[in-house]
Symmetry: C2
């Protein structure tokens, strides 16, 4: 997997969070995921299907950062990861995937995005089952960390 594929997702997440919640994230170094697991409290996941390619993306948030995003978007901070936070994570996942899809289309990749799913549960892990490489990108906000993972079949 090359930067052509990875960068649209990174840029899209940064854009979405800054536009929607006035939150700026520090971008860590993307790396190939081997044993490393993104661990977090709420995650948005989406499947991707193209003509000769298929894969998956996830965005995992630590609780503190997810609540910061809610506060930035709605002006109110929930006490816990409730149903509204789940909706918000689904919405962000959709927007990030949609933004990346547009950029990928400009580069000649026509990729259909499935519908998002949101997983809630303390310190859950997500494992993308693909034959190709897995890229994991760490982000850091004031309230906690986030991880994007992007994986495609060979």
């Amino acid at each position: 997997m090359n930067a052509d594929f990875v960068n649209p997702f990174i840029i899209s997440l940064l854009n979405v969070l800054e536009t929607m919640a006035q939150i700026k994230l520090q971008v860590g170094k993307p790396k190939r995921k081997t044993t490393a697991l993104a661990q977090g409290d709420v995650s948005g996941l989406i499947g991707m299907v193209g003509d000769n390619i298929k894969g998956s993306m996830s965005i995992t948030f630590e609780e503190g950062l997810a609540l910061d995003i809610m506060q930035g978007m709605l002006g109110e901070r929930p006490d816990t990861l409730d149903a509204e936070v789940s909706d918000m994570v689904g919405e962000i996942t959709n927007m990030v995937a949609g933004g990346a899809k547009k950029e990928l289309a400009k580069k000649g990749y026509d990729i259909g995005m499935a519908t998002p799913m949101v997983v809630s549960g303390p310190e859950h892990t997500i494992n993308h089952k693909v034959s190709g490489h897995k890229m994991i990108m760490p982000f850091k906000g004031e309230g906690g960390k986030a991880y994007i993972e992007i994986c495609f079949d060979k």
Copy 2:
């Protein structure tokens, strides 16, 4: 969503578990999911994209049933939901989606399946973010429960 869509997934899960692990599940009554959440310890998720349709499927297992399946498939029962169980759940998710895809193709629905993702974490929940109906189907094995959820956008 009608039985055309739902039944291929139910039949496929029953086939896969009986063939691969000699495990028979009791099928509960499918229902539209409203507030009900499938709660389990390990889940396989997959996105689906067709020409005019997109959606998602998840299969959630309680720990006891997941370990029973491992024992049935490999003859050995792991102590915990380890990396091998995660691989097995990803494989089963792929097989169930593949089996359902074939059946749906016979009915004229051409749906591309993304790559599976596996979520681990005690009592996590999964929320499918779609505009259409969500169907949840409960299953019961000797070692615990399982749930399939199938959701499509309108």
